[in-house]
């Protein structure tokens, strides 16, 4: 790699649908000479039907939205990383965001801050990603970039500061005034490639001076040098302003705002300049890994090339030549021929090809140093795996994977879909450890499991879109569990002597609730009442029993079984007999031990404009939710609650309709709790019906 690390930018472009993300990405690739012709996103009929970026990709034969596209601008290397557009909190979103060092938030000059911009912004906030804003579509009628800036401040709580003002709006939009250099910038030529710098038009001069003062005011919070210059009325240089604004941007205390129209090729080059000047290089960002030898304590990664190698596989892509694994290197460097270890399973891997992705082709390279993004070929791994030098035991993501809480049956509609579906499922479970799949032995249906309704919906949608797998889904089901509430004894004899070899085994002992673990088996038999060779069979029998609890056929957890007595027969006792005896003993003890059903309780956080707070609380309250509290954050308000998952089905739709689509929620598993009696009875009834139906 030819450049110093401070000239590398790993950025994402996020936007609301239809605010011009695809067009902007396309223009960026054009101006950085990665592609050589521009195509319009709009359909040929000119009606304005916006094509999907996926269709555009197909038509162009390139992957604009590939996991990481590389381009160059003013001697800087820019990696544009695809950020998933969906709202649900999943591990995948987390991964993409942690690979970014900075982002461009694209907003529509007419539509302003829309609901998805809010979502995207919240994700950025969560991962502390510094961003700059681009107000696009200044050529559209009704465009008003200053209203968008106000919304950025009010709706998103950003300290949004314009670094430009537009020269003309709507049809008269010609260019922008740069408030740092105090020059007017026009974009001439067929594709706006000729940037013409002139003096500021007279009629805009006053506004420009006033806005520049506001900019300096905002910047002086972050630079003593600038403050001094202002106070002592010295000359304020461009560098002073840029360095102050950069300081503010890196700490997310300023959001610099740029404007233009990507479609009309206006304002894209200054935006790229800003990416190089204002957004952080990998060095500016602190990255942490977890030390597996030390109870997952966070360790700061230094980014030095001499240190041992640490990288994260953030995306897998199925290419023509097999699996392509995108990695971001955080420390050390990776060269062709190196041996690395996948810290998830300890497998050693020899690195064959190391490549870098361009918009439409790949390039073989020798090494990927820290801070860079590259791809590896033919490596079998899952997305989210950490690669390290042999001897290190670090991981970029916590190894803790929560158990899925919801499941859904999916049925392929035809043979082709069946094949595609299994391909898709194979891929998804590699990408996302919280997504699981299996075939139900009894119904022979394929079941997918995940962390929430939306989580599964996203995958079903991806199956349709990316794999053209036509599937029908069943009703989502909550992953209930069974457990016991008190100690109970059992003493069961399994006896069968009806012709042929007999079966005999007696198992006695007790079972009791245990916290924090699924199953504990303890053997307290003395004197060989059950011969040692059959103890394992007893354990097997108990383990078989907990897979489907006797009460409602849900898995049993939190149970300890102790055996302390038994009997055997010299001829009729066998392994099989003791497995059967243990199962009988389990059933006997279980009903005496006060079995109950537990359900997953979700920690739900709803972010809503303050005016809908009451409505949101009402909705949560209706769903057997306990509202923990509400947090006022200026114009927005977060309501936190604990709600049973079973009550959360369809919540997103209800929430949308009662808040004009302006509230959204995240949820994650909080704990398992006993279901109220009335609900348990209902569950029992349903189970009964299903049994009869079978």
């Amino acid at each position: 790699m030819k450049n110093a690390i401070n000239k590398v930018r790993n950025i994402g472009i996020s936007a609301h649908i239809d605010s011009g993300k695809t067009t902007l990405t396309e223009r960026i690739l054009f101006f950085t000479k990665r592609i050589h012709a521009m195509h319009d996103v709009k359909g040929k009929d000119g009606v304005g039907a916006t094509m999907d970026s996926m269709d555009l990709e197909k038509e162009r034969g390139i992957t604009i939205a590939s996991a990481a596209t590389y381009c160059e601008w003013l001697g800087h290397e820019i990696n544009i990383i695809d950020t998933p557009g969906h709202v649900d909190f999943t591990i995948e979103v987390e991964r993409s965001l942690r690979v970014l060092d900075g982002a461009i938030l694209v907003l529509c000059a007419v539509g302003g801050v829309q609901s998805q911009s809010i979502t995207v912004d919240q994700q950025m906030k969560r991962y502390k990603v510094p961003c700059i804003a681009f107000v696009n579509k200044c050529d559209r009628s009704g465009a008003n970039p200053f209203r968008v800036i106000d919304q950025l401040q009010e709706k998103l709580g950003h300290n949004a500061v314009p670094l430009q003002i537009p020269i003309g709006l709507e049809a008269a939009h010609q260019g922008v005034v740069d408030l740092v250099s105090m020059k007017a910038i026009y974009f001439a030529g067929a594709n706006g490639e000729n940037v013409r710098i002139e003096n500021i038009p007279q009629d805009l001069l006053r506004e420009a001076i006033q806005k520049r003062e506001e900019l300096i005011d905002a910047g002086s919070m972050f630079s003593d040098e600038l403050t001094e210059a202002v106070l002592e009325e010295q000359e304020i240089t461009e560098e002073m302003i840029i360095s102050a604004v950069r300081m503010g941007t890196l700490t997310r205390q300023i959001t610099p705002v740029f404007m233009g129209s990507a479609y009309k090729n206006k304002g894209v080059q200054p935006l790229l300049d800003a990416v190089t000047k204002l957004l952080p290089c990998p060095y500016d960002v602190k990255n942490e890994a977890l030390d597996m030898d030390n109870d997952e304590t966070p360790v700061t990664l230094s980014g030095e090339l001499e240190k041992p190698f640490v990288a994260l596989a953030f995306k897998l892509e199925e290419g023509q030549y097999g699996q392509l694994t995108y990695i971001r290197v955080y420390q050390g460097s990776l060269s062709k021929g190196d041996t690395i270890v996948n810290s998830r399973n300890g497998k050693k891997i020899k690195v064959g090809r190391v490549v870098r992705m361009h918009a439409d082709q790949m390039e073989d390279i020798e090494t990927i140093p820290a801070g860079y993004i590259g791809a590896l070929f033919g490596i079998d791994c899952a997305s989210g795996d950490t690669f390290v030098s042999p001897g290190l035991n670090l991981t970029m993501t916590s190894m803790f994977v929560p158990d899925p809480v919801i499941s859904l049956a999916i049925i392929p509609n035809d043979n082709k879909s069946q094949i595609n579906m299994s391909k898709a499922l194979n891929r998804f479970s590699k990408e996302d450890p919280t997504f699981r799949t299996y075939v139900d032995d009894e119904t022979k249906e394929t079941i997918i499991q995940g962390m929430g309704e939306l989580h599964l919906e996203v995958y079903v949608e991806r199956m349709h879109r990316e794999y053209t797998a036509d599937v029908t889904t069943g009703q989502p089901r909550v992953a209930y569990r069974e457990t016991i509430t008190r100690k109970a004894e059992f003493d069961y004899t399994h006896k069968k002597q009806t012709g042929g070899a007999g079966q005999y085994g007696r198992v006695a002992g007790y079972m009791e609730p245990v916290n924090g673990t699924k199953f504990v088996f303890e053997n307290k038999i003395v004197g060989g009442n059950i011969p040692t060779q059959f103890i394992a069979s007893c354990e097997k029998g108990f383990r078989q029993s907990i897979v489907k609890g006797p009460k409602m056929e849900f898995p049993v957890t939190g149970i300890k079984v102790v055996i302390n007595d038994g009997a055997s027969h010299p001829v009729d006792s066998s392994e099989m007999a003791f497995v059967a005896a243990a199962r009988g003993a389990f059933r006997e003890g279980y009903y005496k031990a006060g079995p109950v059903i537990h359900e997953p309780i979700m920690k739900v956080a709803v972010e809503t404009p303050s005016e809908f707070q009451g409505a949101v609380m009402g909705l949560l309250n209706q769903r057997r939710g306990i509202i923990v509290g509400s947090q006022d954050e200026g114009p927005l308000c977060v309501v936190e609650a604990q709600v049973p998952l079973a009550e959360m089905f369809g919540f997103s739709t209800v929430l949308r309709s009662s808040t004009q689509g302006r509230a959204q929620f995240t949820m994650e598993l909080n704990s398992y709790k006993q279901v109220p009696k009335s609900i348990a009875e209902e569950l029992a009834k349903t189970a009964e019906k299903e049994k009869k139906g079978k």
Partner: protein
């Protein structure tokens, strides 16, 4: 579990300042806990709240500084210390029972106003979601304009039949007026029925009643244990 509840109720921190019988504040009453930063205002407020919760009443905790998670953690910690010597299974169950009786509301200091609180409160009550008997306000700014807000709050407290406890941050350099009352509270002290100050003394924290305490002064001095921030039993 009933036993556990009863025993815990007996541990009422305020029993020691001679207010063991009934709720010490009537409807519309104000109480204040004064201390310098980090001495244990929130911990004492949370103890008061837990005590009220144990009696089956509803508590609204308003914080102007900390996020919901942090407040929630305070409750867990204080509850854990309180119930340390009891069987975990019972205490877990009790905790689950208390949870629905508590509601945490946080505001940014500048975003907090009495009309806003009233609006929220009415909303909660009308929808039958939550109706508190006790309100804690942690982090309220006692500045020049406080009197107006406090008077409004008093009216609100009376209307909604609840009493309010405040935490008041004091400063080392702050001069105290008559009765040891800090200057920030002097102008409004007439609105308060009880004022308790926490004063670090060596390794202990002295709990002093500045206003509304018992008349007899022979009561033993009362201390907080800095490790658990709980009121120490008098030996």
């Amino acid at each position: 579990m009933m036993m556990l509840k009863k025993e815990l109720i007996l541990k009422n921190p305020l029993r020691f300042i001679g207010k063991e019988t009934q709720d010490i504040l009537s409807e519309g009453g104000f109480g204040a806990v004064l201390a310098r930063a980090g001495v244990g205002k929130t911990a004492l407020l949370v103890q008061l709240a837990l005590h009220t919760l144990l009696k089956g009443k509803y508590v609204l905790h308003i914080s102007l500084d900390d996020p919901v998670n942090k407040i929630s953690l305070w409750y867990k910690e204080v509850f854990r210390h309180l119930t340390q010597s009891y069987d975990a299974k019972n205490t877990n169950k009790l905790w689950e029972d208390l949870l629905p009786h508590r509601f945490i509301m946080t505001f940014k200091v500048e975003g907090f106003s009495v009309p806003k609180l009233e609006e929220r409160l009415t909303d909660l009550k009308e929808q039958n979601i939550f109706s508190p008997q006790m309100v804690l306000i942690d982090g309220f700014h006692f500045n020049d304009t406080a009197r107006t807000s406090l008077s409004d709050l008093k009216r609100l407290a009376k209307n909604h039949s609840l009493h309010v406890w405040f935490s008041v941050k004091t400063y080392r350099h702050e001069k105290s007026g008559p009765g040891g009352m800090p200057s920030s509270l002097l102008d409004v002290s007439d609105l308060f029925d009880i004022v308790i100050q926490l004063q670090p003394e060596g390794k202990k924290i002295h709990v002093m009643t500045l206003k509304g305490g018992p008349a007899d002064s022979d009561r033993p001095a009362l201390f907080l244990d800095p490790a658990t921030m709980l009121v120490k039993d008098i030996i």
